[in-house]
């Protein structure tokens, strides 16, 4: 299979990866060690593979890696700054919003895309922004609470 090279930025680090034209972004990310992007349904339903591409939440199982050429990506591994967690991560911990944790990276990234755009969302807007992220453990009440709590911190930081 013919290989091609993509250059992109992942978590503020420049990367150059050799990929096949049909490789999915999710597979390439996991192959490169970004296991925080989870393989859930592989058909764009569950949101566990969510990463941010240019700040937008994307199901990485539905995007070709080749389409990420020249783009800026954020995965869950790049959200904290060293030991300093993002307010969303702190809020998920404080609100018990993570049970098994499989959906957590996708949920947090979807929420980050929302709060970066709108740090004062209504509960309805939070729920809408996270409709693409399924939780199969416990439900959505605590994640929604966590995002609303984190929003306050995002607003203060502005």
């Amino acid at each position: 299979m013919k290989k091609l090279t993509i250059r992109l930025t992942v978590n503020a680090e420049p990367k150059e990866w050799s990929i096949a034209p049909g490789d999915l972004l999710l597979d390439v990310l996991r192959h490169e060690g970004y296991f925080g992007a989870k393989r859930g349904c592989e058909k764009g339903e569950c949101g566990a593979c969510t990463v941010l591409v240019e700040g937008k939440p994307i199901n990485s199982c539905l995007m070709f890696a080749a389409q990420a050429d020249g783009r800026e990506l954020l995965t869950i591994e790049g959200l904290a700054h060293g030991d300093r967690l993002d307010p969303l991560q702190e809020a998920f911990l404080d609100h018990g919003a993570s049970q098994c944790g499989f959906c957590t990276p996708g949920m947090i990234l979807a929420a980050k895309a929302l709060l970066d755009k709108n740090p004062d969302p209504s509960e309805r807007e939070v729920r809408e922004a996270m409709t693409g992220n399924y939780c199969r453990c416990t439900g959505y009440v605590k994640p929604v609470e966590a995002v609303l709590a984190a929003a306050k911190v995002y607003r203060r930081a502005r």
Binding site: Y34, F35, I76, L93, D94, G101
Partner: protein, 66 residues
Amino acid sequence: MNTSVVGKNLRKVDGVKLVTGGAAFTDDVQLPGLLYGKILPSPHAHARIVRIDASSAGGRARGPYL
């Protein structure tokens, strides 16, 4: 009996791993020599498996077959 945690919200012991992408689920574990499985359904109902023709896998498929 230590009841110091009763009635308190505590963070999960594995919480930080879960919110930073550091937690390893089964599919995140990679071991040397890891085998990948594929289900090949029989085209015949109630048949006995005599042999498995894996030639369409281009010679890349190898046992063990279960």
